[in-house]
Structures are given as C-alpha cells and as structure tokens.
C-alpha cells in the first residue's frame, strides 16, 4: 500500500533531510509547519523534527505538537527536541544535558527488536543537543544509550510512538536508512 509520512518542522537544520530520507525510501512526504491543525493531518505517520527551541523555555515554539500525540492516533518518530517534548508530555522530564553531545558518538542498543531491528549492538551516531531526557516517562521503554546520554531512544509500551535523541536522518549516522525503514514498517504495520 502507499503510505504518506509527513515531517513536522520544529525549525531544525535537518528537517529537510528527514523529508529527503523518506523520499529516498520511496515514501510520499511533505514538510508541514508545527502549527498545522491536528484535524488537517492526513498522513499515516509523522516525524517530529528537532530544532533550535530549548525544552525548558521554548515549549510554545513547538506549536501543536501535543495535539499530534493525543488527538492523532498514528505512529510518530520524534527526533531531538521532539523526543524531549514527547518525554515531558507523557510525564517524564527533560532539561539541560549534564554533558551536551555534538558530532560523533557511539550508541549502545539495549532493545534490539523494534526501531533497531537487524542492527549491531553498537554503532556510530551523529548528535547535536544541549538538552536531553532526564527521566523516562511511565509507560515508555528505554531502547538505547550513549556514554553521555542515558535515553538515546525510547518507545511507548503500547502505541507506536518513538523518540530518539540522536539524528537518524543524517548521512553520518550509520544505518540511517535501516532505522527509517524500521519506522516505516511500524507505520505500515499500523495501517493494514
């Protein structure tokens, strides 16, 4: 079946890369502003981009993201600040990182069956964040960590909601296509 996954723009440097990644994988996609009304979301899945807004002070800049998590029951891949927002929204915490990470880092996968299916336990990721998830929300599983960041990836226990602190959309993250393909499968799986 033909699915569409839209990219919600939170002002990230790599928002357009997320769109490109989906397009490269043959998925129909559009970049939409984060002020798009939830009722107007017609995609089968959403990617929430990262961006310059700081999680502790700039939440209004993330627009209607809360509505996309509550009112639209479709799979979501939330990246960087989107991931931090998702954690707070479901009762976790996020704030300034003890050690911010920029550029190259190594991820260690602890839950290999879902978003990281078929990937090695450790590989190179590309990161760029000042804030991080400091407490996992209840009902979420931690999927991966790095030396300086405890929650590199998480997933809701029941719904297909994923958050990643690192950037699977950039060329320098190893297995970038595979991670997106796994998310696309989650979208396809929930739209039988």
């Amino acid at each position: 079946m033909d699915i569409r996954i839209d990219v919600v723009d939170n002002g990230g440097q790599w928002t357009h890369r997320e769109w490109r990644m989906l397009r490269d994988l043959g998925i129909d996609s559009e970049i939409i502003p984060n002020t798009t009304a939830a009722a107007e979301i017609t995609a089968d899945g959403l990617v929430l981009s990262g961006g310059a807004p700081r999680i502790s002070s700039d939440i209004p800049k993330l627009g209607l993201t809360d509505k996309y998590l509550d009112e639209v029951q479709i799979p979501v891949l939330a990246i960087c600040v989107g991931h931090q927002y998702m954690a707070i929204h479901f009762g976790g915490e996020a704030g300034p990182a003890r050690v911010p990470e920029y550029g190259k880092a190594e991820i260690i996968i602890t839950e290999p069956d879902d978003l990281f299916k078929g990937l090695p336990e450790r590989f190179t990721i590309w990161v760029s964040h000042n804030d991080e998830v400091t407490r996992l929300p209840e009902g979420f599983i931690n999927l991966a960590y790095s030396r300086d960041c405890a929650v590199q990836a998480m997933k809701h226990e029941e719904r297909p909601l994923y958050g990643v602190q690192f950037h699977p959309e950039v060329e320098h993250t190893e297995y970038h296509y595979e991670i997106f393909t796994n998310f696309i499968e989650a979208v396809t799986g929930s739209n039988p």
């Binding site: 928002t15 890369r17 490109r20 310059a52 550029g103 190259k104 760029s128 950037h167 320098h172």
Partner: protein
Amino acid sequence: MKDVAGFVNQSIEKLMKDIEGTAIIACSGGVDSTTAAALVNTAIGERLVTVFVDTGYLRKGESERVQELLKGMGLNLHFVDASDEFYKALRGVTDPERKRKIIGGMFIKVFEREAEKVDADTLIQGTIAPDWIESGGQLRDVIKSHHNVGGLPEEMKMRLVEPLRDLYKDEVRKVARHLGLEIAERQPFPGPGLAVRVLGEATRERTTVLREACAIVEEEIEQAAERGDCEIPWQYFAVLLPVKSVGVRGDVRSYGETIVVRAVGSLDGMTASASPIPHPVLERIGIRITNTTPEVVRVVYDVTHKPPGTIEWE
C-alpha cells in the same frame, strides 16, 4: 533522488513554461550554478545570459579556468571583473555575517546591472537545500547567511528562479553527471569565495597569501589521493587566521600569520567529519606553505566534525 532523467526532463519542461523573456544566471563555475546553467540553457537556449563575476576572492587560476569552461559549454558568457568593488566593500569588515551579507548584496548589485544591459527580468541561481536551510527563517536559526539567500533585497527587481532548490550536493552531482558536465566532481567552493576563508579583514594582500596556501593544500591532497595514500575528501582547503605567532627562520625571529588546513568527508554538507589525512601529507603541506609564503609562520590542522564546527570557518 531515484529518477535523475525524470528530474531533468521535468525541470526543463517547467523552465520552458516559467521563463518568458531574457534571463541571466549567476554562475561561479561550481557544481550547483553550472548544473543550473546547463539545465536552463537546454530549456531556453539563447535567451539565457550567463554572468560570471570575478570577485577578487577566487582561487588560483580560477577566473581563467571557469571562463574557458563556460564558453566550452556553449553558454552566452558575460564576464565581469568586479574585484576592486568587492575589496572596497569589505574594507574594515571583520564580522562573518556582515561579510556574507555585503557579498550577497554586491552580487545582486552586479547582476542587476548586467540584467539591465540585456533587458532580463529573471535571475536564475543555483541555490540548493543547505543554502536556504542554513540561512535561517521562521523557527530556523541563522547558521550562516548564504550569499544567494542572505544578500537578497526585500524587493527584488527581477523574478528569482531556483531549479535546484530542493536538492543536496550529491543529487546535483547526479544531475551534472547525467548532463555530462565535467564539473560534476568538483569540490564545493563557497559563493563568497576566499573572503570567508580570510578571517578578519579580507584585504587583497591577505587574500593573496591565502590563495597560495589554498593551492598548495589542494595540490598536495589531490596528489596523495592519486597515489592512493588517502581518499579524496569532500572538501579540502586552507584558512587564514587573524592570529599571529612567533617563529624562527635562519636564526632570525619572525612573527606572522597562521594557516589552518581543513579537510572533511561529507555527502551533502549537512554533516561532516574531519578527514584522516596521512601525517606525511600534512607535514609536506606545512613545509611547503611556510617555505614559500614568508607571511605564514605556522600551519595547523583542524580536527573538528560538523557539528559542532561548520565546514568553512565563517
């Protein structure tokens, strides 16, 4: 991009419909603008005037090489030597964002002047995705104002057409290969040219120093890659810092400039990793630059990835 031929055909069709009168294209001889020129040339032929500007911030021999290249492609070339104007506009300017904006503004000034001469109402630019992404807008922070975005006046006299706007460099290269362009594999070169590699004031004299250093870096790394000592990086160049340090030459104290060697691997310029250039190659670059450029006392290597660094220093 999967269907390169499809993209090329659709672009040409769209350009034929979109452009009615005469158009000028701002072309630097780089991958993006030359590919755009080839596409538009196929679409509207003689109605396209290609403007190539020598800003004074081009690399060694580049002005001649590019003119030859563009003529060889059968383009209707208008060459403008605006180097005096550019040097003058940047006199006393050290802030990187001001530099970029002034250069962008100067480009538009030159293009509008040339457009008037040929009565063109459309300006074509080889803008690609990272240019407008990094130039900021709405929620997006300004990382650096690209010359083809940040210098545009609020009210343009000409209509702007940017056929490669949604593509990244690797995709533009595919289009260029499809069109059989020899520039397809050229390394990226910033629109503001050497002006953003001369940190501090980009005077004619300091630019001359950097131009020589840049040529040595390019030559040594290309030769090393040919020998199989390293892979050819995505981009490799020299930067002149506004930092002086002490040296000793022939038992005499010297006090002079610092050159940074920068080489990175990337696919699209949106992320990059510092390249592992073999030490003997770096050593030879250091020796050649300090021995042939009396102004330079010290040569250092930049090991910063992007992020947190950007590829260019300004």
